[in-house]
């Protein structure tokens, strides 16, 4: 998952990628929680095949779909790249695989690879932009990258200041590291 997250959001000199910013941790926590198990959703049978515009109709939730999808991705990579797992491929090879999933040319066994990758893109990017309390967007790196000031609630002084850069750094729901006094060595 970390290898996948780092290709969806590659690192660059200014901003870490999906791995170091915590997107894989975010996805892992989401899958372990209510989202992964479809808690609160309508799960009564029968589960019939419908049209795409009728929405998701599977008894299997994202947790199960990710387990199947990641395993199928590794199997397909091993078959194509002499036994190598997805995480062991070069960046170029990884991107080739992902472009193949996106176009539908690279097929996964027992899983809709295109749909799985679309879901992974959505979830990894969601982790990048969600509040850091959910495990991604560590140190608000994504918010710093785009210029979003975070969980602030008062822009009264700024609503009429047009085309000026908002000067304050982002703040998360739990504040900012600078607000926490430096450690005094446990004394």
């Amino acid at each position: 998952m970390e290898a996948l997250a780092d290709r969806i959001i590659p690192p660059d000199p200014q901003t870490p990628g999906g791995k170091d910013s915590g997107s894989a941790v975010f996805v892992d926590r989401q899958l372990a929680g209510a989202y992964g198990a479809q808690e609160g959703l309508y799960l009564r049978p029968p589960f019939l095949a419908g049209t795409k515009n009728q929405g998701h109709q599977s008894e299997a939730g994202p947790r199960e779909e990710y387990q199947k999808g990641l395993a199928a991705l590794d199997r397909a990579c091993q078959a194509k790249y002499a036994g190598k797992h997805f995480a062991d491929l070069s960046d170029g090879e990884k991107d080739d695989v992902l472009h193949g999933l996106e176009s539908g040319a690279f097929k996964l066994d027992g899983t809709d690879g295109k749909a799985f990758f679309e879901q992974a893109i959505k979830d990894v990017q969601m982790g990048f932009f969600a509040d850091p309390i959910y495990g991604g967007n560590r140190d608000m790196v994504a918010w710093k990258m785009i210029g979003y000031p975070g969980a602030r609630y008062n822009y009264l002084d700024w609503v009429n200041r047009h085309n000026e850069k908002f000067p304050l750094p982002p703040v998360s729901m739990t504040g900012r590291a600078e607000w926490t006094p430096a450690s005094t060595g446990g004394k």
Binding site: I9, L43, D131, Y153, Y155, K165
Partner: protein, 592 residues
């Protein structure tokens, strides 16, 4: 076996906007009122603290404040010959739950409908002839006129402290307001909200193109305000977390900020939360409601007898409870007979995103409110000649961006890859200089013979009752309307100076997975004729006169505006009819 509670004068089903308005009015009349709410109690300071609301994942993506589909959902299909499948996770709309209802997490866009909207069928037939309308279109007049509703629009606007600029004051057109609006008896209670950069730019571009832009009327207040109940509201701080979120700043009008603090102090008012009404009971004649049956969280069944029953749940649930209670004749789309489930509608929306030069434009798009923005109304309702265009209806268009919450607002120009370095760079370069108007094109959705609600033959809810089935599609008239409006809107966005624009038209088939506002209407519509409407002009059931059904379920079809102001005005109108007519002489207020 249900345990029977002591009788009340009035039982109210659902404590959202309309339930709260009615409870306040009828307790003022001295009646003993109980409101029964399916969801939890919610207080502004403790349930929507400003330190927790700016959480896009929890509230927007994971739907924290909304109804859970496992508690109740609907089935959906486009056409009558399809099998409807359950909506397992919300998409096209998100039903509210809990005290305050949709009034908790709405954007607070405070639009009046046009005078011609209320006499739609008569108006369009007179202007264009009957043959101009699609054959399967089943639009109707409302049975009430704009002039009759105007005092009640005014009451709801003043309850909420609405911020806006009048465009038509007692017939006099005012500069800076909406020149197409119906005459209003007095100015807005508070001045329009301040407009951020991109919204201002839209207003300028629209003016340069010859339109008459005006600020969107807002239930997020520009300034401090004390409402007629004596409740104080504070100025909006433009945090950009209205839509999907609650406001504890007492800046957004909601039942919590404008009614409930007064209502809960009245000794003749009682509320029961976490209790779901499953049936409106009637006597043997079927012509008189005797009260309701509800289920508490332990699954215990209770009966609450009452002389007067107010059904004020969310629109579709009103229709559902009518069907589950056997009140009124279910609508049959083949014969066109029956009324419950008839004229189900939604909203025809789309948008145009604009990508600007990041070296020249910094919009600070996160500075916003839920009903901020500059709009034009030249293409709404019948404000323009539809003759050459071959469709009816319309909507307002505007730069009504409600914030720039980063999960949903990190857009990239057309042609950008969906992932990888190119995507990341494009997100970084465009976030502050992109115009993302949300529902920038807000079009009407007219009614059709085969767009309706009925009970699903296959799927059941947790209590074993059939789910409500929605049969809904985008018809050619609405698709044409949307193409026209979206193109007009795109011209203004382009004229603002966008480098690139991305248009997304609303197309057929209707898609249950894409959010299209929560303005689902109809199913228990009002009108003049009991064979084509479920309630009369006072929202009183034609079949059971001591039952009134409030909310957007009464809309015969939907106009090109957000519905809540009309929903609230109709609740005040009905409360007035109950207080001044019905209570003096209980019985049907209209002779059919």
């Amino acid at each position: 076996m249900a345990r029977i509670l002591p009788k009340k004068d009035v039982v109210i089903i659902g404590l959202g906007w309309t339930g709260a308005i009615m409870a306040h009015e009828l307790t003022d009349e001295g009646l003993d009122v109980i409101a029964i709410e399916r969801g939890p109690w919610r207080d502004a300071p403790t349930d929507f603290p400003p330190s927790q609301m700016q959480d896009e994942l929890r509230y927007r993506v994971r739907h924290e404040l909304f109804l859970r589909p496992d508690q109740l959902t609907f089935t959906f299909r486009n056409k009558m010959d399809q099998t409807a499948l359950p909506i397992r996770s919300w998409g096209a709309f998100m039903p509210p739950n809990g005290v305050g209802g949709g009034g908790v997490h709405w954007n607070a866009e405070m639009w009046r409908f046009l005078p011609s909207d209320f006499v739609l069928k008569t108006h369009l037939t007179q202007r264009y002839g009957k043959a101009f309308l699609p054959e399967d279109m089943t639009i109707q007049d409302w049975g009430i006129t704009y002039d009759e509703l105007e005092p009640y629009y005014d009451r709801f606007e003043y309850l909420c402290g609405t911020s806006g600029t009048a465009g038509n004051l007692r017939g006099e057109i005012k500069e800076g307001g909406n020149p197409f609006e119906g005459p209003r008896s007095r100015d807005y209670p508070t001045k329009a909200q301040a407009q951020p950069f991109s919204q201002t730019l839209f207003g300028k571009a629209a003016r340069d193109l010859g339109y008459k832009p005006f600020p969107q009327p807002s239930g997020n207040l520009s300034t401090a305000y004390t409402n007629p109940l004596g409740l104080r509201m504070g100025p909006c701080t433009y945090c950009g977390f209205c839509e999907w979120f609650g406001c504890s700043n007492y800046s957004k009008a909601s039942p919590q900020t404008t009614i409930l603090p007064v209502l809960v102090r009245k000794s003749n008012f009682t509320a029961r939360d976490n209790s779901e009404v499953v049936k409106i009971n009637t006597d043997r004649s079927g012509k008189r409601a005797t009260g309701v049956t509800f289920i508490d969280t332990s699954g215990n069944e209770w009966e609450q007898p009452a002389d007067l029953v107010i059904l004020s749940a969310f629109s579709v649930f009103n229709a559902q409870l009518m069907l589950h209670s056997g009140i009124g004749q279910p609508y049959d789309p083949v014969s066109g007979k029956g009324t419950i489930g008839r004229n189900f509608t939604h909203q025809t929306i789309s948008s145009v995103n604009g990508f600007f030069d990041s070296k020249k434009y910094n919009f600070n798009p996160f500075i916003a409110s839920g009903s901020i923005g500059m709009c034009i109304d030249e293409f709404n309702g019948d404000n323009f000649d539809h003759g050459p265009h071959g469709f009816v209806g319309g909507g307002y268009v505007g730069q009504v961006q409600t914030g720039a919450r980063p999960i949903e607002s990190t857009l990239t120009p057309p042609g950008t890859p969906k992932w990888g370095t190119a995507w990341k760079n494009a997100v970084r370069d465009n976030y502050l200089s992109t115009v993302k108007p949300g529902t920038g094109v807000h079009g009407s959705f007219y009614a059709y013979r085969d767009i309706y609600l009925d009970l699903d033959p296959l799927y059941k809810d947790r209590l074993g009752r059939p789910l409500m089935r929605m049969t809904i599609d985008m018809k050619e008239n609405e698709v044409k309307q949307n193409r026209f409006l979206t193109d007009k809107f795109a011209e203004v966005i382009q004229a603002m100076g966008a480098n690139q624009i991305a248009k997304s038209y609303r197309t057929a088939p209707y898609d249950m997975t894409t959010y299209q506002t929560t303005h689902v209407n109809g199913g228990v519509i009002m009108g003049e004729d009991p064979t084509t409407s479920a309630v009369n002009r006072y929202l009183q059931s034609w079949d059971v006169p001591n039952l009134f059904v409030l909310g957007a379920s009464a809309f015969p079809q939907n106009a090109g505006y957000n519905p809540t102001l009309t929903v609230g005005a109709l609740a005040f109108w009905t409360a007035d009819a109950i207080r001044n007519k019905y209570l003096k002489s209980p019985g049907s207020l209209v002779n059919a």
